[in-house]
């Protein structure tokens, strides 16, 4: 009984190692970091976490599957400039009632297309996800800059309709992006935990060959996951574009490290087969809270980078350590 309790506590810390650190850090920040606990700061903290959570959910699917999706940030970028063009510079721009839905649809289609290209390259052409998504990331980012420079002399597109900013949480609508992010997260959590598709993802992540022998359609699953990752990046692009109120061809350039930090620090294994959306949610909150605390404390940007890098390193180390201890205990138990 005693071992059973210990093993469950150990299992909890193994599956969500960041939770106690997040709770302690959050409470400490509330008490000791000036302005951290203010309603205004909590609001911007949640808003800043919204698009990161959505795009991280998409990439989490791929990581759980044992892959990686570098191209998610380029979807963010291309979606941003194409959407902004439709709303601000295209012939539809004069009518926001039409231009906003068309822009949103276009952004989502871009996400689906990039995901489908990745899926084709990985499942049909049998390219490693590392190479395939890196290639699409480069190409799509280039297309974004090319598109932007062909429609405007400036390197960003402004003049978006005010009503579109609702998706960025403008004014009294600050709950809109938070609600969208929670919906996406809730859907992802449900899909992974309560459906056969979710179990297939884990199975492929642990061992794709075994999964194939067990009757799982590995290629189809991987293809769908990459399309979903692209789609989620498209949704994040809508929120981020609305939040910044411009189409930016550099929107996703610096975001990938935050996405991977959130996924890894949360406790999802980059080797696949272990982790989930509870971990990604905690990881996103952790990364956002840490960055927010550092900003509030006036910590220099390069120190923030050092801290973020160190946290990824430490959390990966502790994750591996906990997993080893857990495996050892489980081994002793079976004897």
């Amino acid at each position: 009984m005693k071992y059973n309790l210990n093993s469950k506590i150990l299992s909890f810390f193994t599956s969500t190692p960041i939770m106690p650190i997040l709770v302690v850090g959050f409470v400490a920040a509330c008490l000791f970091v000036p302005n951290f606990a203010s309603v205004y700061n909590q609001k911007i903290l949640l808003l800043q976490a919204s698009d990161l959570l959505i795009i991280s959910c998409g990439v989490t699917f791929v990581v759980l599957n044992g892959g990686i999706d570098f191209s998610a940030t380029s979807v963010l970028t291309l979606g941003s400039v194409v959407g902004a063009y439709i709303m601000a510079l295209s012939p539809l721009a004069s009518n926001p009632i039409i231009s906003i839905p068309v822009a949103i649809a276009a952004i989502l289609v871009i996400g689906l297309l990039v995901g489908a290209i990745n899926g084709f390259a990985i499942t049909v052409l049998k390219m490693p996800s590392f190479i395939a998504t890196l290639a699409t990331q480069l190409a799509v980012s280039g297309v974004a800059v090319l598109f932007n420079s062909s429609v405007t002399e400036k390197s960003s597109i402004s003049g978006l309709p005010e009503s579109f900013f609702i998706f960025g949480g403008s004014g009294k609508y600050y709950l809109v992006p938070i609600a969208i992010a929670l919906l996406v997260w809730g859907f992802s959590y449900w899909l992974l935990k309560y459906t056969k598709f979710g179990r297939d993802i884990y199975a492929i992540g642990v061992n794709p060959r075994t999964a194939h022998i067990s009757g799982i359609n590995v290629k189809k699953t991987i293809f769908v996951l990459l399309v979903m990752s692209g789609l989620f990046a498209g949704i994040a692009s809508i929120l981020a574009t609305a939040r910044n109120q411009v189409g930016l061809p550099s929107l996703g350039d610096k975001m990938f490290i935050s996405i991977m930090a959130a996924i890894i620090v949360g406790g999802t294994s980059t080797a696949g087969g272990f982790g989930g959306f509870k971990q990604t949610l905690l990881g996103v909150l952790f990364v956002t809270v840490i960055t927010n605390i550092m900003n509030l404390l006036g910590v220099e940007w390069f120190i923030i980078m050092i801290i973020q890098g160190t946290l990824i390193l430490l959390s990966t180390m502790f994750g591996t350590m906990f997993s080893s201890i857990w495996s050892l205990k489980a081994g002793e138990e079976s004897k």
Binding site: C30, N35, A37, S158, D253, N295
Partner: protein
């Protein structure tokens, strides 16, 4: 067990948010930010206080000595005025800069001084500052459009660029020289780069007998992009004999490219390639002094830093400017007037 533990910790987390939010009365909230700012303005005008005034500074990055000097001056001026600067760097990320300005507002700064990464993207932050009743000042990079910051302290980029090239053209004409020109272009998201390009174009169009533009090289304010673009342009146009750069920041790739083709020489030497620059920082001024450059247009990092702090304090105390843009008219320095003008430039004391 795991679920219970997860739930317990989630409840703890939620409770800590609720209790801490309740416990920190007086910290800004969404609707109260404007009122809080107004109240603080009234306090600052009514009674002297020992508490330092917080001013937020949001820069793109400290990529050149100009920005380093500009920030140093602000720190000194802020200290004199018993103000505290909270400095954040966006490191080339316009979205991050908007997030950082939100954090500055959350920290209760009374004014924001901003060197924007992107003249369009920063508008979202200007709107947020206005909603919060916190004045915002643009430092060195201007914003145009419907939503303007409270004050913009900028160099008269277009005029300065035109004046320098006109002075260069006048001298070239008197010497009977013509130039096959490579024109470097800064980041087009930066209003300064756009205006300097306009100024250069204006002077080039006005002096067709002196300038023949053989290549335009976009750099996006990136040294590596500049190096590769310039190398290609020099290969494609071996007859080029003038480089116009929109910033002294781009000197390293210019020097490297010219050294590679054996054209890094001083004025008067057979292998000299003419270069005219912009900024007037110690790098550009040193090359001008040493004879590698024909001219520089100096914007005043000290003056602009002083003006930013001065106007931040004025705006906090409720004063309004008569003009939205306050110009630094800059100085045109050439080989011919170096001894006379250079000692007036902020970077002169740093020269070897």
């Amino acid at each position: 067990m795991k679920t219970k533990l997860f739930l317990l910790l989630t409840v703890l987390l939620t409770l800590s948010i609720v209790f801490s939010a309740c416990a920190t009365q007086g910290t800004p909230n969404v609707s109260a930010l404007s009122d809080a700012s107004q109240a603080s303005k009234e306090e600052s005008t009514k009674a002297p206080t020992t508490e330092k005034i917080k001013i937020g500074v949001s820069f793109d990055s400290l990529i050149s000595p100009w920005w380093v000097t500009n920030l140093d001056v602000m720190k000194k001026e802020a200290e004199k005025a018993n103000a505290e600067l909270i400095v954040v760097m966006a490191e080339g990320d316009a979205a991050k800069q908007n997030q950082q300005i939100e954090s500055l507002l959350a920290q209760g700064v009374k004014a924001v001084i901003c060197g924007p990464k992107d003249s369009n993207a920063i508008v979202a932050s200007i709107k947020k500052c206005k909603e919060a009743g916190v004045p915002i000042i643009m430092d060195n990079r201007s914003v145009s459009g419907d939503v303007l910051p409270d004050v913009q302290v900028v160099s008269n980029n277009q005029l300065m660029a035109t004046n320098l090239l006109q002075a260069f053209a006048d001298n070239a004409r008197s010497e009977g020289k013509t130039y096959n020109t490579i024109l470097l272009i800064g980041g087009l998201s930066d209003e300064n780069a756009v205006l300097r390009k306009k100024g250069h174009d204006e002077a080039i169009a006005a002096n067709p007998d002196v300038f023949n533009v053989v290549a335009e090289v976009p750099t996006d304010w990136d040294l590596d992009t500049c190096l590769k673009g310039l190398q290609n342009a020099l290969q494609a146009h071996p007859d080029a004999n003038l480089i116009i750069t929109p910033s002294d920041y781009l000197w390293p790739p210019i020097r490297s490219s010219l050294e590679q083709i054996g054209k890094w020489g001083k004025i008067g030497e057979a292998n000299h390639m003419a270069v005219v620059a912009f900024d007037g920082d110690e790098v550009g001024m040193q090359y001008l002094k040493d004879g590698y450059s024909e001219g520089d247009s100096a914007q005043d990092a000290v003056l602009q830093g002083e003006l930013c702090i001065e106007w931040a304090l004025k705006l906090i105390s409720g004063e309004k400017p008569t003009e939205n843009i306050i110009y630094d008219e800059g100085q045109t320095i050439t080989v011919q007037n170096f001894d006379e003008i250079a000692p007036q430039i902020w970077s002169y004391s740093l020269l070897k």
